[in-house]
Amino acid sequence: MSQTPPSAEPKFPRDHYLNATYGIKSWLLTTDHKRIALLYLISVTFFFFIGGLFATLIRIHLLTPTGALVTPETYNKLFTMHGVAMIFFFLIPSIPAVLGNFLIPPMIGAKDLAFPKINLLSWYIYVVGGCFVLYSFSTGGLDTGWTFYTPLSSVYSNSAVTPAVLGIFINGFSSILTGLNFIVTIHTMRAPGMTWFRLPLFAWAHYATSLVMILGTPVVAITLLLAGLERMFHLGFFNPAMGGDPILFQHLFWFYSHPAVYIMILPSMGVVSEIIPTFARKPIFGYAFIAASSIAIAVIGFLVWAHHMFVTGESTYAALAFSFLSYLVAIPSAVKVFNWTSTLYKGSISWDAPMLYALGFIGLFTIGGLTGLFLACLGLDIHIHDTYFVIAHFHYIMVGGAVMGYVGGIHFWWPKITGRLYSEPMSRFAAVTLFVGFNLTFFPQFILGYLGMPRRYHSYPPEFQVLNVLSTAGASILALGYLLPMIYLTWSMRYGKVAGPNPWPATGLEWKMDSPPPTENFHVTPVVDWEPYDFNNRPDLGLAAGRPLAPAHGDD
């Protein structure tokens, strides 16, 4: 093992995946999982910008009770397109397709994913699907809500629904192929010594995510296609005037779209499970429980979908069953939170930006998860269903959770991806800004929801104004929290300090590669003879191995 402790000034490697070949063709035809990850990074960032622009307009519009900015038609299109861009084209692919693509092969000691060409194909499918959706956005827009409820979407809407559902249908195959690739890779390409229980928790989380992608995505793809066919050819799947059932659409839609939340949050949990032991410099507390809870979430997550439908008139017995199962799925998430928190106990905790993001994730995810209990509660859901309480809850999970984890992961592995370090003070400031801005934006919405403000309202009674103004003010801070990293991370690509292979240092195999890594990741296939997150028996990390801070007692 050739790594030197960070005291010696690291040198930028001469040959790496970024300069292995040149030219636009070398990128568009690459099968290198790292380059594909960067292609995804650029495309999901593009959709994040679009979705973010829509969100900005929404928040400005809601400053006054009558709506400050746009017509009702435009407002409805803004929140629909915000949801579609963010969920299908940013949140779902973000961590798996960017960080998962880049990191899963090196984390398990492989040179690439099992099917490199399929990996590239999945990016092209994503782009084609994205083009359909952009076509819909730019030729009339989309005003059905991201949930596409029938018969509004399939009969009554006058917007460009057909290209949008086709785009999401196509994009689904990108998810399915990525999930397939991850599962096969994790099963078949682990390096010698990389047993299942030595897998990084990031890989466990992606394994669980891939299961959901493969099993759930086909259902939503077909469902949206049926809605599209009903619209194009006037068939009667969901339209009650033709004997269809609009509630059937909701069952099929949520059968995927609830598990889809776990596609967004599980990878983020994986990121946090990597960051916390690294910056606390101790083994993660309850490795097996965290790994198993990912699988439990993926499995039980498939059995809770109709909790989105407690007030559709579904049978009381069904509602009772789905409420009960929704409470069960909360338990593995709670287990994770307790284990992460316990990992901090007697750690050697640094205050680097990735750690701040990870701890911010725990705080926000905890609030998001706990408020999920409110919505799973039948007696409360009859009041808060479809109000801003729901909006606040799922933004705490998807933005406070998934996006916080994504940004934290980008900060954690940025030195690996680019070979350079970013500004420490700037990154800490951005992490705190993001956390504060997020809470200011979305916490008031819990209260708005309980007061009874329904979601998707372009105008509202005046008594709701104060909280809406607070929320918009918070959103401006939140926007700053997103823009800052884009600036200093971009800056660091050219001017940042050279990172060296393992700047933090961390224990994972990916940190054995150069930064940035060579195209083949490892010159020699690595052999794993250490346990995950073990800082005490790793002299190669250059730490005070085996010299704990506090005197050890009978803890373990």
Binding site: P72, N76, D143, P151, L152, Y156, P240, P246, A280, R281, K282, F285, G286, Y287, A288, F289, G313, L320, S323, F324, Y327, I331, V335, F338, T341, G347, S348, I349, L359, I362, G363, T366, L370, L373, F374, A376, C377, L378, G379, L380, I382, H383, H385, D386, T387, Y450, G452, P454, R455, R456, H458, Y460, P461, V466, F535, N536, A544, P548, D555, D556
Partner: protein, 337 residues
């Protein structure tokens, strides 16, 4: 509203204090956990802050007793939340028998209310305090949702079938109702006001404004002949279709040997999809009225058919529904099959 920045809407129905009590319980548990986690993270964050650059933490791998504790304790609390919520929900989904029945029809983008005496309102609803009110919800087009924050209840209004909801207003006043299921362009302004009145005021309001409005039973009766229903559904049971006297809320024997209770949903289905359930002893002759009747007209026909509940049921013979008459009448004991 109670103050400049209230935390909850007014409590104006039987459900409001129950839902708020549940909310306080869940908020307390959630606050306890969130505070515990936050305090632990912040405390550890400063207490165990790295002091030497190459220091490592104490290698603790886990503790199965702790794991068990933080699986079992949240599970017990979760089951408590589930049960409490379930009790309120079952109460909400179980409509009491002695209700004031009002029909609500949602359409893009307005609400129509129809009272038993024929009085109609648009984007307004007047109800008496202290009386159980049952709303039957129908939609002319897309899915809507009838939501009264001050009552803490809502229910989707789904095209193609009826949902019902109930509440007992407890406090006179005027309260918002909203559409809370996104339904297209003017979703946000598809709302109105519920006026909860003292019973005497309500009675005065009913009598004062009902003049000239058509009684739904009368409207239904007129439709019944206009749409030619009356040519087959003869009251004396000699027509090509069964008499509807006494049918509402009774059991109807079907051609496949099963029985069905003739409720609003059954009547609606029989009008729109007559061949879905054929009464035993009759031919599937009835044409569909899908697309030919508005939701209001269907409700009026239903009201008329309901009014026939007290009419004498024709005896068997002469081409009358042989089985249906026997299976009839909740009051009389029924013979099986």
């Amino acid at each position: 509203m109670q103050s400049q920045l209230p935390l909850y809407p007014e409590q104006a129905s039987n459900f409001a204090p129950k839902v708020d009590g549940l909310m306080i319980f869940l908020t307390s548990v959630a606050a306890l956990f969130a505070t515990g986690i936050t305090v632990a993270i912040v405390y550890f964050f400063f207490k165990y802050h790295r002091k030497q650059a190459n220091a490592v933490g104490v290698p603790i791998h886990g503790d199965s007793r702790l794991e068990a504790a933080w699986i079992v304790v949240p599970l017990v609390l979760a089951l408590g939340m589930f049960s409490w919520g379930a009790v309120i929900y079952v109460d909400y989904r179980t409509t009491p028998s002695d209700t004031l029945n009002i029909d609500i029809i949602g359409k893009q983008w307005m609400w129509k209310a129809q009272h038993p005496n024929g009085l109609r309102e648009i984007n307004e609803l007047h109800v008496p305090v202290g009386r159980n009110v049952k709303l039957t919800l129908a939609s002319e087009d897309v899915i809507h949702d009838f939501f009264v924050p001050a009552f803490r209840v809502k229910m989707d209004v789904v095209p193609g079938h009826y949902n019902t909801m109930w509440f007992r207003p407890t406090k006179p006043g005027r309260y918002h109702f909203f559409c809370s299921q996104y339904c297209g362009t003017n979703h946000a302004i598809m709302g109105g006001w519920i006026t909860v009145m003292e019973p005497t005021d309500y009675a005065a309001w009913l009598s004062g404004s009902s003049g000239g409005e058509a009684n739904p039973v009368a409207v239904g009766e007129k439709l019944f002949s206009e749409k030619a229903c009356i040519t087959c559904h003869l009251a004396n049971g000699t027509g090509r279709a069964p008499s509807l006297n006494g049918m509402y809320a009774a059991k109807v024997l079907l051609a496949d040997g099963t029985t069905v209770v003739a409720d609003e949903a059954y009547i609606r289905e029989s009008i729109l999809q007559p061949n879905a359930k054929i009464v035993a002893g009759y031919q599937p002759l009835m044409p569909t009225f899908q697309g030919q009747l508005t939701e209001e007209q269907i409700l009026a026909l239903t009201a008329y058919i309901k009014s026939l509940q007290s009419q004498p049921v024709p005896t068997k013979g002469g081409g009358v529904a042989p089985a249906r008459g026997a299976e009839n009448a909740l009051a009389a004991p029924t013979e099986k099959k």
